[in-house]
Structures are given as C-alpha cells and as structure tokens.
Amino acid sequence: MSRKQEADIVIVGAGPVGLFAVFACGQLGMRCHVVDAFSEIGGQCIALYPEKPIYDIPGFPSVRGRELIARLREQAEPYHARFSLDSLAVGLRRDAQRLFVRTSKDEEILARAVIIVAGPGAFGPNRPPLAGIEALEGTSVHYWVRDPQTLRGKRIVIAGGGDSAVDWAIVLSDIAASVTLVHRRSKFRAPPASVNALMQLSGNKKVTLRVPYQVSALEAHERALKAVIIEDLDGERIRLEADVLLPFFGLSSDLSALSEFGLNLEAGAIRCDPLSMSTSVPGIFAAGDVASYPGKEKLLVTGFSEAAIAARSAFAFAYPEKPYHFQHSTDRGRPSASQVRQNV
C-alpha cells in the first residue's frame, strides 16, 4: 500500500529552480510537494559547488552555491511546501482531474499539475561501467556505508581517490579482514591529515594501496562477489579476491526515472514551449536545466524566469475556472502561509 499525499502542485527536483518554483506557486496561492532523489535540497549548487561563488545572479554581486540555496529556502519557507527527499519520482498516472506522482519510497502524491525541475537528472552514485555490477548492488557492491560493522571480517576493495575512498579505507582497516584501495594515480584528493593516516596504514600493511590501477571487471557467483580484476595503464591485470567492492566516484545524474511520464525527452532534456513552459503532456510543465527549447541557455536566471512562467501556466491548468489576477509581489505583501489557498 502506498502512502498518499495531496498538494496543488508536485515539483520534481529540489534544485535552485525547484525551490523558486515553490515560491512562485505560493505567490499564486498554491501549495507544493517537492520530491528529490538526493538527501539534501539544492541540486547542483549543493551537490557540485557549495563553496563556489556565483557572480551572475541579479542583485548578488557574489553568492556561494550554499548561500544561494539557503536564501531560496528562506524565500520559499512561508509557503510550507512538503519535501520528500531520498525519493526518486518514478511514475505518473492520472484520472479526470488529478495527476498522481509515485516515488521510489512508495509514496503517491496527487496534485492538479506537475512541474518538472529535474536538471540533468536525479543525483545518484556514479556507477562504474562494469558488466554484472547492478546484480551485486546492495549485497556485495555498496556506494555508501551506512553501518561499518556490517563489513566486519570482509575482504574489501575500495575504488576511487577522493575523501570517501580515503576515509573509508582508514575506518575499515580496523574492522575488515583486508582493505585494498585501488586508484588510477598516486595522488589522493583528501585533506593532508587523512592522506598521512592512509600512508601510515599502508606502511603497516593494514591497507594495501594499488596505484595506478583501475577496476576493469568483476567475478561473481550467485549475487556474491568473488574477485575484482584491476588493470594498470599498460593493461597489466591483477585478480583480487574480495567479498565487497566500494566504488567512490562521486555523483552522476540520470533522467531515466522520468521515462514513464510520457514526456518528449531528447538529448537529456524535455522539449517544451518557452511561452508557457508546457510539455507534450497536459498538466506537466518544466523549468530550469531540464527544460529545452530553441536558444535555451542553462543559467540560474533563465531557470528562475521559467519557474515563474511554469507556475502561472500550472495555475491556469489547475484552476481553469479561476481568473488569473496579476499582482506584483509588492502588492501581495509579505509572503505568508495564509496566502496559500487564498486565491484558489
């Protein structure tokens, strides 16, 4: 049995444009339910560049990714949107008046319209292109470690060269039967203290470093990993017997979860009409990086404008009987929860 939720608008994607869409919908009196596959709101600004200054947001000569998201969250706050994080939007069905968006957490949200602000797609682990890896995920292959104790006594291969790879090699060296760290070069991208700790563990033979190597194949038997094959830059191979592989290659984005929505997906984007931000599916609108039309520029400012247009169009679709009364935010006054459902 899926859990049911209800809102005026479902917003797929809690990136910067999704957050502004919550505000834009709130201004029109509509309450939103936001779904994001990632564990945090903020989209690319948080997942990819929280500390980078952005210089082309009107009114902000310089603002870091993290700060922009904090501001957008604050701006949307009065409209009390609900958020389902760690939740991938995977399905859509409809009846005469409503759309139902289903998530990977078996939640179903019914709404009058949907705004897709999915950027380049749902954030998830960057999966190495190895034959058979998907069948081992959750048993022998893990992209994050929830409880290190579950790895006690295992022969572990960690692949990657950043913070996660280094930190987990250190932590697990105490718990696992063996830890082998495989990386394509000798430099690790981690704070000097962590790299020093790693080098010490390598000296004490508590962690085996395999550099420069990359994982090239897996051997498995009935959903259990048997060995990881690694390869150096000259194609020289080594077979490492292992129970567990932990690949740490950062995040990747994947739009395929939306394939069931019946949208016109091409080249990693949704075709829409820039005058209304409507897609080929009635009641579904798009904004931000995922929305494409001739001459599209993937910028935050463009996305914010598209979110305002999508909100207006979603309003017209959701409440065809209501007149669309234009008001500036200055006339509406300070945003507050009481504005929600005032118009509708």
Binding site: P128, P129, R189, L233
Partner: protein
Amino acid sequence: MSTNDIHIVVDDNGQVHRLTCRSGISVMEAIRNAGLPLEAACGGSLACATCHIILSEADYARVGAPSEDEEDMLDQAFGVTRTSRLGCQILLDPSLDGLGLRLPARS
C-alpha cells in the same frame, strides 16, 4: 566555410566522424554540436567527468597535459588512459586542426 574552421576526427567506438567546427569552442561543444553522445552533465564547468575523451598519443602531445583541477575530476572517469582529457577543457584553435580522439566505451 570560413578560414577559421578546423577539423577534428572523432571515433565513437568504431564509428568515425569528421567534424568541421569553429575555432574558439571546446572539444566538448564540438562533439555535442555534432549530436554525438557525450553527456557533459555540468556544462563545461569542471564539475564532472562526463566529457572524458581519449586523444591519440601525438595529439596529446600537441594539446598538453591536464591541469591539476582537471586531473582531480578525471578521478571520477572510468577507463582513464595516459592520453585522457576532459573535452570541455580543450579549446579548439587552428593549431589543433586535424585533432584525433575517441570516446570511451559506454556501459
């Protein structure tokens, strides 16, 4: 075709494409403009490794080694070789006319 146009040769897993492109764009943009499959998720801001390309040895020598930041991002690519680069970090100019590269195998 203007005198500024240059040519690059892209081998997409056995399918060879000869592209004519304007000087001043990146290799990533040239490949995307031609409609070839290259994700380039971050749009060229050196925040992902999805425009990983592999140059011929001679052309790698022409283009030069990646910056330290680019090396860091290449850590998130797969099947990295001695002549791997990120396409977004190579700007095309007439000195790179005839550049040859291949796209990595896809899963």
